[in-house]
Amino acid sequence: MVNIILVSILIGLIYGFTLQKCQICFTSAFRDYFLFKEGQLIKALLFLVLLQMILFHFFASTGLIIEFDEKQGGILSLVIGGLIFGVGAIFAGGCASGTLYRVGEGQMMSVFALFGMLFGIGLFAELYDILNRTLIQPLSVGNIRIPELLNISSIAVVTIGAIFFLIILLLKNIMMKKQIE
């Protein structure tokens, strides 16, 4: 119990310290790309996804990661929820993690955004029963992963994914070089 608390405190501090130091935020990454075609942060985030993919599967194969998380929902809720979240994050000037580190920096707009988030969560909880019936339960995407969906091994998917991500990263570099030339 004490260990869980200590580990949580330490890991939380590491997240916050690093996010602030490197100014890592999904919303600024995509906003800067859409507005100025500035893709440095997106590349870093792509690299983060790739790194996590390899680390998670490596430690799952050694047995240190015992069980994968649960990610599911109805197609409608995933798409509509995702769209609403994306629009909101641009308005709030930061994603879920970006808003938290900006609160730590003293940005009042993000403090308001955080209060808004808590309010929005409360609103969702109030409407949960009806949303569950209409958007979450129908057309449900169960707790299913790409390897089970396509019936191929995780290693194959991770390898293909890694190659795919590397191609994107390289293509971006080439395109940027061409622009400079």
Binding site: V7, G16, K21, I24, F85, L100, G116, G161
Partner: protein, 169 residues
């Protein structure tokens, strides 16, 4: 030695260093606590906690809070410590400052955006961290759908904001 710690704590870090630290920390969290990084799950517990001070009976009778009772979970501790970690980092690099936007409407815009984020993240069953940083690496179909939708949403949001800025000029 002094100048090294000085540099580490006070100056900005290269992006790739940050990405490797975040990725390692999230993997460590997955191994030690059984779940990778996520933001809004802990915030639901925070809402339940705040709500149970104001209207305890109502919180107890709300179905959604059965899964997120008014208790302090480790995910909530991580959220709070994230803010504290960012605060320490900002103070050390002399970046901390209470910044109030010159236009007060920006605060309302932030609050409104926050409502959409909180609501959207719960409807999609995860925020950008839960789905893109943690879910897509685990190759979950739901996370790929939600993650792509978030990016499209950010595109739409940027267009709306751009139109607003242009019309106000």
């Amino acid at each position: 030695m002094y100048s090294m710690t000085h540099k580490l704590l006070k100056s900005a870090w290269p992006l790739w260093v940050g990405v490797i630290i975040i990725g390692s920390a999230s993997t460590l969290q997955f191994i030690l606590l059984g779940r990778p990084w996520g933001i809004t799950d802990g915030e639901v517990n925070a809402v339940a906690l705040i709500g149970s001070i104001i209207m305890p009976e109502h919180i107890l009778s709300t179905t959604y809070f059965e899964a997120f009772p008014p208790i302090v979970t480790y995910l909530l501790i991580i959220d709070v410590m994230l803010i504290l970690g960012a605060f320490i980092s900002a103070v050390l690099s002399k970046n901390f400052k209470i910044r109030i936007p010159r236009k007060k409407e920006r605060l309302i815009q932030g609050f409104a955006g926050g409502i959409l984020m909180g609501f959207g993240a719960r409807l999609a069953m995860g925020c950008n961290v839960g789905h893109i940083v943690s879910g897509i690496p685990q190759l979950y179909v739901a996370s790929i759908i939600a993650g792509m939708s978030m990016i499209v949403g950010m595109y739409i949001g940027t267009k709306i904001l751009l139109r607003q800025v242009r019309s106000s000029w």
